[in-house]
């Protein structure tokens, strides 16, 4: 299984602080993606990092990938109350016959940003 496991399971911070979430996985990957899920809603894609990349930025998001340790981290800087959500890493397996890709999600980190 390529399952990702996030750490911590829950994180509570004050608005303006940075939030760091970690993800570990077991097998080789094509790429790794981070998703966000607000309560009762679907998953929203945040950022994709390829297996040959080490770091990627998107706005207040910074993702790192260490393929030797099979781990990734998501940093949200200057957090806002609106960042309150669950965050999931997903390892990506390209479906070679038939195309598309299959996501394997981790257990998620529940982030709460308090005013």
């Amino acid at each position: 299984s390529q399952q990702g496991e996030e750490d911590p399971q829950a994180l509570s911070i004050q608005e303006g602080e940075n939030a760091t979430m970690n993800c570990s996985y077991k097998t080789s990957i094509n790429n790794l993606q981070w998703y966000r899920q607000n309560s009762g809603r679907g998953l929203v894609h945040l950022i994709l990092i390829r297996s040959n990349e080490r770091e990627k930025h998107s706005g207040r998001l910074r993702v790192t990938l260490d393929t030797s340790k099979k781990s990734s981290s998501l940093l949200i800087t200057a957090s806002r109350a609106a960042d309150t959500a669950s965050y999931f890493c997903a390892t990506v397996y390209e479906i070679l016959t038939g195309g598309g890709n299959k996501l394997t999600f981790g257990t998620g980190t529940q982030l709460k940003v308090e005013l």
Binding site: R41, H45, I95, G98, G99, G100, N101, T104, G108
Partner: protein
């Protein structure tokens, strides 16, 4: 921004009945997926669909399940002879060419009584 839409948002069904969950993927996407999330558990891959065929399915996706693209816009998941353990959130997703990310709908909460 285009969205994946799913209907209904909540479906309550008696055990043993058949349900059809409906999805309208993003119009120019080529690949379609179903995932499920049992309460408190991980989001699990069920099936991927391309060019009117299943391209990959998980162990969960047994003969009880089927998918169909009945027209140019809808993508459905049929669950026959529902069981209590089928209760979950079911998410539809679609994507363009690799390695474009998958876009998810808000899900259908399926409750089997």
């Amino acid at each position: 921004e285009p969205e994946v839409t799913q209907t209904p948002s909540h479906q309550v069904t008696q055990m043993g009945q058949e349900v059809i969950l409906r999805c309208v993927p993003i119009s120019n996407h080529l690949y379609f997926y179903w995932y499920r999330q049992i309460l408190g558990q991980k989001v699990e891959f069920l099936v991927s669909f391309y060019n009117n065929e299943i391209s990959e399915k998980s162990e969960i996706f047994d003969d009880q399940f089927s998918v169909e693209r009945p027209d140019g816009s809808n993508f459905t998941l049929k669950i026959r002879s529902t069981k209590l353990e089928d209760s979950a959130m079911y998410f539809c997703a679609s994507s363009g060419e690799w390695p474009q990310p998958q876009h998810f709908g808000d899900g259908t909460r399926l409750s089997i009584l």
